[in-house]
Subunit: 339 residues, 2 copies
């Protein structure tokens, strides 16, 4: 591996100048800079991450904490983070949390404490109080996406408002018997998003003067299959069949779509379905949804962490939570209730 000394010799300057020329810190004349860059290029020199980190305390590396890697939402957010950080020359190290208590602990007590990263982004992680504390102890900028955590800088969509928007869309189409597919209680324990969505749903109904019927709520597990089963329950009930279903995720909404189809209901003529997320499959299934732009969420989180890094020396950290955008995308799965 070629080292900074060789570049310095080749360019006829000191290593200090090479460092400054290549990193852009401190003053270097244009001509010297050009010479150094040329030397680096011909020699194929790339600064050693560990030597640079050790000397400077900066790693050019961001840790990303994810609860699941193989779920569409998380991998999409991660993808957004990755592309935004790469553009700025940052590396990403992945911390994938498991359900295993010990491994989870090790993540916070060991992995994150190796001084490998300049900051961390936590995706939709419902962190326990001790875990939040461990994160804060790292003394690094932390940006959390989703699951508002008052002790962390958080980028979050207003889940209550998102759910209201979806529900109000159905109400505006004349629906009154609206069912909701949310999360099972165990899920709720350490994951508040489903609860917020349910609240938004119920608020919208209440505002419209409609009673919330417990029979029109069905829990599921945020998968297509779960949504399918929940919808079958809801649609199979004799008498009070809903004319619309609001699912707390697009995957569950797609499950509901498939269930309706299997039971012989036409969508949207016999049943309207709306989801939340902006899932890639939504377009194919012509699903009306409230898009929360997960790719964009990742990019914003990346920008936010880089901003925090730059501001670190200068401004004090600001904990104002960032509000993320969302938008109702009307496709073919919702229609006016035939009168």
């Amino acid at each position: 591996m070629v080292s900074i000394d060789e570049v310095a010799r080749h360019a006829g300057v000191s290593t200090a100048t090479v460092s400054r020329a290549l990193s852009g810190r401190g003053h270097v004349s244009d001509s010297t800079k050009a010479r150094v860059e040329a030397a680096a290029k011909t020699l194929g020199y790339v600064v050693s991450a560990s030597a640079s980190s050790l000397a400077s305390g900066r790693t050019r590396n961001i840790g990303v904490l994810v609860p699941f890697l193989d779920r569409w939402f998380f991998s999409t957010v991660l993808s957004g983070i990755a592309s935004a950080l790469m553009r700025r020359g940052y590396d990403i190290t992945l911390y994938s949390l498991t359900a295993n208590r010990d491994e989870r602990l090790a993540m916070f007590e060991t992995f994150l404490r190796r001084q490998r990263v300049d900051g961390v982004i936590a995706i939709s992680l419902e962190l326990g109080p001790e875990e939040t504390e461990r994160l804060r102890e790292l003394d690094l900028p932390v940006i959390a996406i989703g699951g508002p955590n008052p002790r962390l800088t958080t980028l979050t969509v207003d889940d209550v408002a998102v759910a209201r928007l979806a529900t109000e869309h159905l109400l505006a189409l004349g629906h009154r018997a609206i069912a909701h597919i949310g999360a099972s209680p165990e899920f709720d324990i350490d994951f508040h998003i489903p609860t917020h969505r349910r609240q938004g749903f119920e608020q919208a109904l209440a505002d419209a003067g409609i009673d919330v019927k417990p029979s029109l709520y069905e829990p599921a597990d945020f998968t297509i299959e779960g949504g399918f089963r929940a919808a079958k329950q809801l649609l199979g009930k004799p008498g009070g069949r809903p004319t619309a279903i609001f699912a707390a995720s697009d995957e569950m909404a797609i499950g509901a779509l498939l269930a309706a189809r299997e039971l012989g209901y036409r969508v949207p003529e016999d049943l309207s379905v709306v989801g939340i997320d902006g899932h890639e499959l939504g377009e194919f299934f012509r699903l009306t949804t409230v898009d929360q732009f997960p790719l964009g969420q990742g990019e914003r989180a990346a920008d936010a962490i880089l901003a925090a890094l730059e501001a670190k020396d200068a401004a004090p950290p600001q904990h104002q939570p960032g509000e993320l955008p969302y938008e109702l995308i009307v496709r073919g799965s919702t229609a006016r209730l035939p009168s």
Copy 2:
């Protein structure tokens, strides 16, 4: 941050002994080791990754190169890699390749050359010759999953055999008019897997004495939607409708399932469908498939890279390609052709 000196002082030994006790290299008496570990624990000491890397040349970090983060197959493999590496105390840094030529180049010429990783795993990446060369120049162990590359140690499933297996399953059920959904030509250019699967398909037909009809081949893009469209083409052709479809991926197979349903064909009574992958949705759709255990592929790759790391000093690198397992999973989407 607490440093090794504090631990040394606290345990009443030199820093050298602390280093040896904590890393397990060199001899340390049991009692000293216990004392050092206790001191480290009370002080909350975790070795600094950059200092350790700089001094030792080892990073305890593996680079993972992926073409897409947000496709099920890749994120699943990644998930397998992550859990296996974490168990061994390794970190993962993610190198997500984009289509952008310059960014892709930067990945190989800059990001990977920062000496941040001890080895790299490349997932199903069809690398150009120069890219392969850059990887080799890193002088690090490299394990590639899929897309056999003679210049790299590769873990690969025998795609031809997998496709044969799927096709032979249909043949054994009495099908003769079997269609194949593969990849569009542009896709094929730098991605050989679809080609191999097509070869396996055609070999199986040939072995059974059946002509390969070009009209029974339809290209798609490996998505559900693509499979849907391709199946509509295949099934819409007057006269020669196939009685079975073999899709080169589960996602396309699911698309075919949905297309069949929409056209009023019953699966498996009127049409059998088989895919490849072992996609999580396969169970829900009762899809017969050849599972290639992507989670396991990730774990194996992780094991392989760690083995290579350990063998680095001792044995010379062995380039024998690893064969990955696969298995036909028969579910409800295939049935005997009614006679």
